[in-house]
Symmetry: C2
Subunit: 223 residues, 2 copies
C-alpha cells in the first residue's frame, strides 16, 4: 500500500508528533524534574519540536494534564474490594486517595474538575454504589462522595504544598517564626505542641479520617 497517510485516507503531511508521544514526553519530564518543570515549551523541546506544534494534538495544557491522569489511573491495578458495602465504601475511597497521592503532579488537576478522567470514574461509581448499598439515597450517596473528595483533595494538596516548602531549604519558614513568637498565655495548646508540630502534621491518618467521615455521615443519615 501507500504511505500511512494514504492508508488512513487522509491527505497532507504525515504527523511527526502524536498524543502518545506527547504524553510519554510529559511523563519523562515529570519523573525527572517534577511538576514545576512541566511546561508546553519543555514538552516540545523534549520532542525536538516547538511549543505550538503541540496544540495540534491537545487543546491546551489542561487537557494534557487530564490525559496524564487518565494514563496513570489506567496503569494502576484495580484492588480486590470487600463485599460488605460499608467496608467497600471505605476501601474504595482509600484506593482513590492512594492513586492520587501516588502522583503529586496531579495537584493542578485536582481542583479543576472533580476527577473527570474516565479511567478513574470506576472509583466514583464504586463509592456511590457502596453508599447506596449502605442504605443511602442516591442524593445522600453523592453527599458522601463529595465529602470524601473534599477531604482527599485537601489532604493531597496540603501535603504536596508542605513537601514543596520543605524542598526549598533556603527560605526560613514563616510558620516556625510565628509559632516561636507566640505568647504561651494566649496560645497554651499551640505553644505546648510547638516542638512536636512538624512530626505530628507529617503523620498519615487518611484511612482513619475517611473511616470517620463515613461513620459520621452514615450515622447522620440514620442507617
Amino acid at each position: 500500500m501507500a504511505s500511512s497517510g494514504a492508508e488512513t485516507g487522509r491527505i497532507g503531511r504525515p504527523p511527526r508528533l502524536s498524543r502518545a508521544a506527547i504524553i510519554s514526553a510529559a511523563q519523562r519530564i515529570l519523573e525527572q524534574d517534577g511538576p514545576e518543570g512541566l511546561s508546553m515549551r519543555r514538552v516540545a523541546k523534549e520532542l525536538s519540536s516547538t511549543a505550538m506544534s503541540l496544540y495540534h494534538h491537545v487543546r491546551d495544557k489542561d487537557e494534557l494534564l487530564l490525559l496524564l491522569l487518565e494514563e496513570h489511573a489506567r496503569r494502576t491495578p484495580r484492588p480486590a474490594l470487600p463485599e460488605a458495602p460499608r467496608e467497600r465504601l471505605v476501601a474504595t475511597a482509600c484506593h482513590l486517595h492512594d492513586v492520587l497521592a501516588d502522583c503529586p503532579w496531579i495537584v493542578e488537576v485536582l481542583t479543576s474538575d472533580d476527577l473527570t478522567a474516565v479511567s478513574a470514574l470506576w472509583m466514583v461509581e464504586g463509592i456511590l454504589d457502596a453508599a447506596v448499598g449502605c442504605g443511602l439515597s442516591p442524593e445522600q450517596a453523592v453527599h458522601v462522595y463529595r465529602s470524601i473528595w473534599y477531604y482527599t483533595a485537601g489532604e493531597i494538596l496540603v501535603r504536596a504544598g508542605r513537601n514543596r516548602r520543605y524542598a526549598e531549604l533556603d527560605r526560613p519558614a514563616y510558620r516556625d517564626q510565628a509559632l516561636a513568637a507566640l505568647d504561651p498565655a494566649d496560645f497554651p495548646r499551640l505553644s505546648a505542641l510547638a516542638g512536636q508540630w512538624p512530626e505530628l502534621t507529617l503523620q498519615d491518618t487518611h484511612r482513619q479520617d475517611i473511616q470517620a467521615i463515613v461513620d459520621g455521615l452514615l450515622q447522620q443519615a440514620g442507617v
Copy 2:
C-alpha cells in the same frame, strides 16, 4: 521637630511606599479583578511605582499573600462560641471555614503553610482546646484539627476551582462530555445522576461534614 525620617532616627530618603499602602492596593485589586489579577507588577502600577520597589517592604509574593490573610482574619469579628467542648469544636471549625471561604483569593496561601497568619491562630488554638476538652490527648487533638483542616482546605479549593471554571463560559467542560459519553451499563449510578450532578455538587454541606468528622474521630478515640 525634623522630618519623619529624623523622628524615627533613620537616615536617607523617606519611604514613599509602605506595607500598609501595598496591602490596601492589593486588596483593591483583589476586589476589582479577583486573585488572577494580583501580581507584583499590578500592585506596583496601582501605586504608580515599579514592581521592584515592593521588595523593600515585603520579602516576596508569598509574604504579601500572608499579610492579606492576616488583615482579613483581623477584620473578621470573633463569634460567640458555645461552652460545651464538643459544640465549641464544631462551631470553631465552621467559623474557620467561613472566614476562609469569604476570600477565594486565599486559595494560593492555603496549601503553602497550614494557616500561619497570627490573627487566625486563635481558631487553631480554639479547636485544639475544645478537642482536649472532649477528653482527647494533645496528640489526638492535633489529629482532629488536621483532619478538619484537610477537609476545609479541600472544600474551599475545589469550590474555587469549580467557580473559576464556570466563569470561563467559552470552554466546553470536559466533565460534561465525559459523563455524557459513559456507558450506563458500566456506570449505572453515575449515569442515573448525570443530570443532577451540577446542582448536587454545588450544595454546601460543610457544617454537616465537619460534624461528621468530629463525631467519627471522637468515636474512634472512644470518648
